[in-house]
Every structure is written in C-alpha cells, then in structure tokens.
Symmetry: C2
Subunit: 128 residues, 2 copies
DNA sequence: AGCGTTTTGACAATCATTCTCATTCTGCTG
DNA sequence: CAGCAGAATGAGAATGATTGTCAAAACGCT
C-alpha cells in the first residue's frame, strides 16, 4: 500500500518550481515554467508528481472557478486560504472557530468522518 | 447588455429535472435523465441553461473532487452544504458563525468584497 | 401571417487530465 | 563494478467535460 517513493531529478524540479511561487499555480503553468527554465520534464510527470504530493498532503490543491486544479506549497497543518481575486495574493488563515462549527453542524445531522473545504476570496488592500 | 431571456420548452424541462432531485447533479447526468424521460434536449442546451441559471443565482454550483460541475436547486439565500460522500444526500446548513468569522478574518488582512465557499463532506448516519 | 432575434441541436473543437507502454533510471545485490 | 527487478519518465493517444459553430427552428410581436 505504501507507495514506494523514489526521488528523481524531475520530481525535485517540480517541487522547486512550486516553492518559488507563493501563489496557486496550475499543472500546465508549472510545466511551462519548467520548460522555460530549461528543465526537461514531461507534462504527465508534472501531473503525477503533483498528485502524489497532494495525496501526501505536502501541497494544497484547490479548484479555480473554471474547474482547473491549482497547487501551492503550504505550511503544514490544516488551514484555509484568503485569496485576492485581482492579484492572486494568498494568505493562509486558520481558525478553530470554523473547525468547531463544521464539526458541530455535521454531528448534529448525524454525519461522521467529516472533512471540509473553505476558501475566502476578496480584493486585497493594494488592489482595492 | 441585459440578456433577454426567452422561455422555452427545453429550459423548463431542465428546470423540472433539476427540481425533481434533491442532490447535486452533473450536466451530463441531467442530460441522460432527460433523454430517458423522453424529453429531447441537446446536451449543449443543458449546459447553456444550467450556466444561465447559475449566473442568475437560481441554482447552486459546486465542483466534485474530480472537477466536474454539479448543480442543485436550492432554497434562496446564502447557505452551505453538508454532503454525504457515500449516498450523496445533501443537507443545507446555515450559520452566522462562519459568515462572521470569514468577514472578520478578511477585514483583518485588509480584504474587501469578500465572498467564500464552504462545503462539508462526511458520511451520514444511514451510510455509516 | 411575416419578421427580426433568440434558441436549439448535432457535431466539431478545446482543454485539462489520465492512460499506455516502450525506454530510461534507481537502489540494491553479489 | 555489473546485473536486475521494479519504479519513473515521456511522447503521444485516449478520455471526458465543457464550449464554440452555424444553419434550422421557435418566439414575441405587429
């Protein structure tokens, strides 16, 4: 079950690329960036690497309004994102309040194994 | 600019189909259902109708983990969803707590025009 | 009924993502 | 160090949802 992870040049290339941006990036963009910087990495590999990273919880994934998956290297632990819809600046936020609320609501309706997604969008100060 | 909306048979067919399920349904499924029940509606039309309904705020849209768009006719007003990941049963939930929290967090970081998405997934009592 | 516009529908075109599979690495092992 | 089995890669095909195209059909109005 434990997928044997074998470190490779292209995997670290993908991780470095991810680390160099602070904003959410799509697999396609990431692939383009890598090509430009001279790294030869196949598109399929970018996808594969990103999904294993995501599965392992090493990166955060969310979907744009158009359904495209975007990835971001984040601090560990459970948290949410406050994203500027103009410049894309992202702030990580955390709050026991929400966690408690979702758990309570779920319990109240007899749901277990609860998980949730929460993203906040707005216009940041500098873009206003 | 104000798109003149002209009522048609197929549009009401789509709306009826949406109204007959209480769970989130994809455009593809909706189209299949319509075909089965004898309604002749083109796939493109289903998509078009759904997006205008969504734009108008008459239906709620969210994305499955795989990025597929799913639609649901909902009560009006701002609310969130508690979805059973096994049977798909959906419960609408509402909570000033979260609304206040997101607004506060956003304000704290200088963000304005705040919007947010929040969905809760879990396993409901009967599926446990 | 007649007309200008909007909608429809069959199908082609996009686009992101996944699959296929032969080839290339990697980490051992002897 | 050479050899091996299994994992990873990459090029391109395949998939699947969604959108665009455009001629034909449906609407609302006169």
């Amino acid at each position: 079950m434990t997928t044997t992870r074998r470190p490779t040049r292209q995997q670290s290339a993908v991780m470095d690329a991810l680390g160099s941006t602070r904003d959410f990036t799509s697999a396609q963009d990431l692939h383009a960036q890598l090509r430009e910087s001279g790294e030869k990495v196949g598109l399929a590999t970018v996808y594969r690497t990103l999904s294993s990273l995501a599965d392992a919880g090493d990166v955060d994934v969310l979907r744009t309004g158009e359904g495209e998956a975007v990835y971001r290297k984040c601090s560990t632990g459970h948290h949410h994102h406050l994203v500027c819809r103009a410049c894309g600046r992202t702030v990580e936020v955390e709050g026991p309040t929400v966690e408690r609320w979702t758990d309570a609501v779920a319990a109240e309706h007899g749901f277990s194994d609860v998980a949730h997604t929460l993203e906040i969008f707005g216009t940041c100060g500098s873009c206003h």
